[in-house]
Assembly symmetry: D2
Homo-oligomer: 204 residues x 4
């Protein structure tokens, strides 16, 4: 039984490179893969899926919030691969879930779990509800050797806690462990984010 996968990872964890490696492996075996990405994400040009390491491939389809997939068009597909899946609408994840089950076809979604405020993106939230398998693509914290779990938004070298959820191209992000997230955002910043604190924390 083919699965719906959510392979999440912090910023710069080489998720796209992993996706391209999987696509490469399927194609080398003579199998047919379909590459999807959200319409929103056009950092590397519309219709390109590009890893920071230099590898890239064409997306077969750009997906928007009101896309309706035709089941019949996927009947001979061996695997669907989705880049930047965190930006997909929940209704798209619903459809991918149904397609995986009805066509016995693996659907592998790569994406971020949460934004710079530790809130999940809509596509990631729905994937966390519906995926058969939740796997992690790891990267170390920008500031130490621990695994990164959170994403800092940096402006002029400083962590910020305000702004829109998605600011493509403009802001810079750093993958960080929990300890460095606290360190850079600060206790006051965490409170501004709405994070509830236990009693007895020293500010600073």
């Amino acid at each position: 039984m083919a699965k719906l996968y959510f392979r999440h990872g912090a910023m710069d964890s080489a998720k796209t490179m992993n996706l391209l490696a999987v696509a490469h492996n399927y194609r080398k075996q003579g199998k047919r893969v379909v590459l999807l990405k959200p319409q929103l994400d056009d950092r590397f040009g519309r219709g390109r899926i590009a890893s920071r390491s230099g590898l890239e491939a064409d997306a077969d389809m750009l997906v928007s919030a009101d896309t309706v997939f035709e089941l019949d068009r996927f009947r001979d597909v061996d695997c669907v691969l989705v880049d930047e899946a965190q930006f997909l609408a929940p209704a798209i994840i619903d459809q991918l879930r149904m397609m995986s089950l009805l066509l016995d076809m693996p659907v592998i979604c790569y994406g971020l779990r949460t934004d710079f405020r530790t809130e999940s993106f809509p596509g990631a939230r729905r994937l966390m509800e519906l995926a058969d398998s939740i796997e992690e693509v790891k990267v170390t914290c920008q500031f130490c050797g621990r695994k990164a779990v959170f994403n800092l938004r940096m402006v002029d070298g400083r962590a910020v806690v305000e702004g829109e959820q998605i600011v493509l191209g403009d802001a810079q992000y750093a993958p960080v462990c929990g300890r460095h997230y606290i360190d850079r955002v600060g206790i006051a910043g965490l409170r501004r984010l709405g994070m509830t604190m236990p009693a007895g924390i020293e500010e600073g």
Copy 2:
């Protein structure tokens, strides 16, 4: 660096038994564990954490939506274990996250991912955002040998799609794979749940 864990599993996956095994192991090594559960869950009596297999233990603390943990009271604790963590308020998960980081103390939360409508419980949703490690406690589908991912609510032997998110004691639940979830709820039922479908699905 101690982690915040979310160990999720469908109904009847022996999550509580796993929790009690971990508690047993810590105590056998002379370490101090604190067992928490939400105030809501009193199926087995207030303050008891009981596995269906017969093992049980006392909860050290019942947690409600407005509980504020005192950091100092956890300074000599080796591990916090949480049963039925899906019922916790997001504000409680926030605090557990901070306690884990500030005290370098592992916090291991066991719970369901989603309700009978495939929607995440509030505590589970926040854990999926904040946990360092997301792990699965597996159980097979009630109706086949595949892994269960969803939970059916059964009334008089039939799957239902309506009702409150939490109905303690009254309804019955079955862990099911995606295929049997579709099979029992039906395409019409999925639509009533608000699940968006791809085009070209045959009803029935």
Copy 3:
């Protein structure tokens, strides 16, 4: 497609309790499980599979190095569960591997990876070669909060590096992390075990 699993864990990681939880879950769903254990292991009485937490069950079959399984006797079995699988002969693991594939039946083996000298047990070594899924049952180090990976053999409270691979009932064991394994065995002890060292290690 059903899998062959190797769920390994250090001493006292509640492997047997996990096995009994899985057996309980299968039986609760009206499915048929077969429990196996090596003939060698009779700590808790011949034919009993007993967890230190108090739970126990009857083994359906004791397996020796020359056991030959009858494929037909497993045709209506939903799952085979194996306790103390590290003690099984490689020829038994071969057969379990074939049975899993030919009958599309999951076989879940629980056991230690390595002995007190960091050498793999024969059944564990073959499982590491043939298993579809290698999973870990975790326990913390006896002496700190890190995950245990090695097993110390203790005599009169001191770690020893000599003796037979299997000493049932007599010796005592402690699960330890790598750092405490080095600490207790000592650099000289590691050399006596045949462990090759990099240059520049200070003794002591």
Copy 4:
């Protein structure tokens, strides 16, 4: 506490590409990585670590069976990455294990688990004993959509069961699931390999 990792995968699972992605991420963060490979493996030229997808990098060091690492030379290293780790001598794995523990430095080894006869390579066997974390790099079976677990050696399009463990450059390999391993090697071939069978298997 930094870990020793064994990331195993069947042939063509993009292990080297994963290694290069990890190296890229460390370097992007300004951290220092050391890339090792066994002296034996010179398919892509001595001293190159090359992925079939086109990415490549220089190995910092070629390791032979009698290499002795100088602990002091690794004191400012953030991560050691090893390609084709299955070919390393057990004595090398011992040293990597000690270095990881004594320097608190992650060592990430990529390699095959087993050869075309389902027997572990020497480096893989020792890694399975000593690694803190055993992870899988997945690839699908050449002949179906299931996960590959075994490696077929192919000569003129047919699976063979005889020959040396390592034949670089000459033979061809295919990653396969257990079912297709049996199918291509055949029951008679499995017996020639020394695989012990349960009773009641039909030949052919």
